[in-house]
Amino acid sequence: MNDVTQPSRRQLLTLIGRMGGAAAMYQAMTALGHAAETQFTGPPVLSGAKPGASVVVLGAGLAGMVAAYELEKAGYSVKILEFQDRPGGRNYSLRGGDSFTESDGTVQKVTFAPGNYVNPGPWRIPHHHKCLLHYCRQFGVALEPFIQLNHNGFIHSSDAFGGKPMRYREVAVDFKGHTSELLAKALGAGALDQSVTAEDKEKLLEALRNWGLLDANMAYTSSVHVSSQRGYDRPPGGGINGAPTPSQIAKLSDVFSPQVWTAMSFYFNYVMQTTMFQPVGGMDMIGKAFAKHVGKSITYNAKVTKVAQNGKGVTVSYQDVPSGKVNTVSADWCVCTIPLSIIRQVEMQVGPKLAAAMKAVPYAGHIKMGLEFKRRFWEEDDAIYGGHSFTDQAIGQLSYPNDRFFSNGPAVLLGAFTSGAGAFQLAGMTPAERIEAALKQGEVFHPQYRKEYLSGVSVPWTRVPWILGCTSRWSEENRAAHYQNLVALDGRVVLAGEHASYYGGWMEGSMLSGLDAIAQIHKRASAA
């Protein structure tokens, strides 16, 4: 091969990048099968840091720690101030022996058996979150599959199927079947002749027959054929009674319950598609891995109260939480990753545009609950291995553990994961009332609940003292008015965190924003 006429893919991309700018480059990379998933193309290369240049990072979540890690690698001198007594921020796990104090002072003690845990915040990682996966690989964080789509999980709606939980498999196949029959009828009656050619009509009818499992009359009816997707009353076996008997399809009006298509369309979300991962042993393995590298730069129990800046540098005041003593740290630059939901507690000396942006972003309020049971009855009795069951009750959903399948002894399932009205309702209760509600509502799926229950913990994010919310909730109007102002370097201070990204509510967004923040600082510092 002559490499003058055949440029390597990399050479080609460099060329396109030079000629057409970043947008053309990005498009070209997508066409060549690169990029698309995330904007991450590798850790930043920050060469030529000025000797002695310093940065103070506020918050030891993933945004703060990835920024600190790459800055130190580039030769900056870094200090991190963290309000809590641990690294990771929202990236954390609760285990037996831990306790959780709510903003009103209520304390919950976790009594799970050794090895059991709940991830109150982040819990699943899409396969395309390449930045996060890059650091997991680099730091040796072991990952295992997060079972996302489980066809054997349940769907429950109070006003459909007589209030009885159905398997996801059954309702999804029925939804597909009934809609196919209706569309086939409309086509047959000529109702769509204005919209499809005769040839496409034939193709579509053929598709509907096969896709919807329709019978010879183009109707969706109970049969062994349909049961090969939705499951049987008596499954296929061996010998004398080997022949299967079909299950009965559900009524059309039940199948059109919003709970059915909500679940089906949920799994189509780009961020919810398989394959997904979780760290072995708890989500906080990621935060801990970062802390192994930047931990010596972190001051814990340091509550930042003020960020002042002038042309020369930044001075941050913080309170040592146990003693109440106020200290200051000075540096050339500052990366602030404190969540916007509580930033008004910090006196920030920044320009009016950034100040307005910091006030503009609302936060969602999710709640999660971990319930420990004596045994894995969902596996042993119901053949559910990981994945979810969905309900229209306040608890929102159950999610089953994705690790240590078939093991004996106590196991923890996620007994609630909900936002909106359901989350507020549960958050407003005492911890004991929340557990009672979770047991009562979860019993709809698993009558074994009461008998097998051991203990539980609830984490309502609106009452987590160091954030008072869950994740940022940008609207299109807010994006247009404030996003660029929020993420731009303001003098010597730059914000980072999931709120400073278009991947809000994901660890990937926190980290991409942390990397962008330090790229901005490095550029300005190198220009000075």
Binding site: G420, A421, W506
Partner: protein, 128 residues
């Protein structure tokens, strides 16, 4: 987005998860909270953040003895449009429910603004 939804029957407008945003979210659709009584709505929605006695916490303001409540336009605007970290409540509460809970808070927790807030007030003052 919201305008498009108006074409659907009311059922579909309610309790949608935040489909527009990409954040990690539950995969279920919640039943509508039909509570009509102001005190109950306060307990089931507002107390999550403002606490059952409305004293607030940290960056979340108290609603007890709150002079901002004197003019109904203020609480209506906050509920309908959100403010700071507080999200808009229009996807959770109907105008009638907002009116009921505002009336409740304006006459409890050391607040004494007896004039009731009506559904019509909310519709008029809570417009985007």
């Amino acid at each position: 987005m919201r305008r498009g939804l108006l074409l659907l029957p009311p059922l579909a407008m309610l309790a949608l998860p935040f489909i527009a945003s990409a954040q990690d979210m539950p995969g279920s659709m919640q039943a509508k909270n039909n509570t009509a009584e102001g005190g109950k709505i306060f307990k089931e929605i507002c107390a999550a953040c403002h606490l059952p006695d409305a004293r607030g916490t940290g960056a979340i303001p108290a609603l007890a003895k709150d002079a901002n409540l004197a003019d109904p336009a203020y609480p209506i605007g906050v509920l309908a449009k959100g403010k700071g970290a507080m999200p808009p409540m229009d996807d959770i509460l109907t105008p009638a429910q907002m009116a009921a809970v505002i009336t409740y808070v304006r006459t409890n927790f050391g607040n004494a603004y007896p004039q009731p807030v009506t559904e019509a007030d909310v519709k008029r003052l809570g417009k985007p």
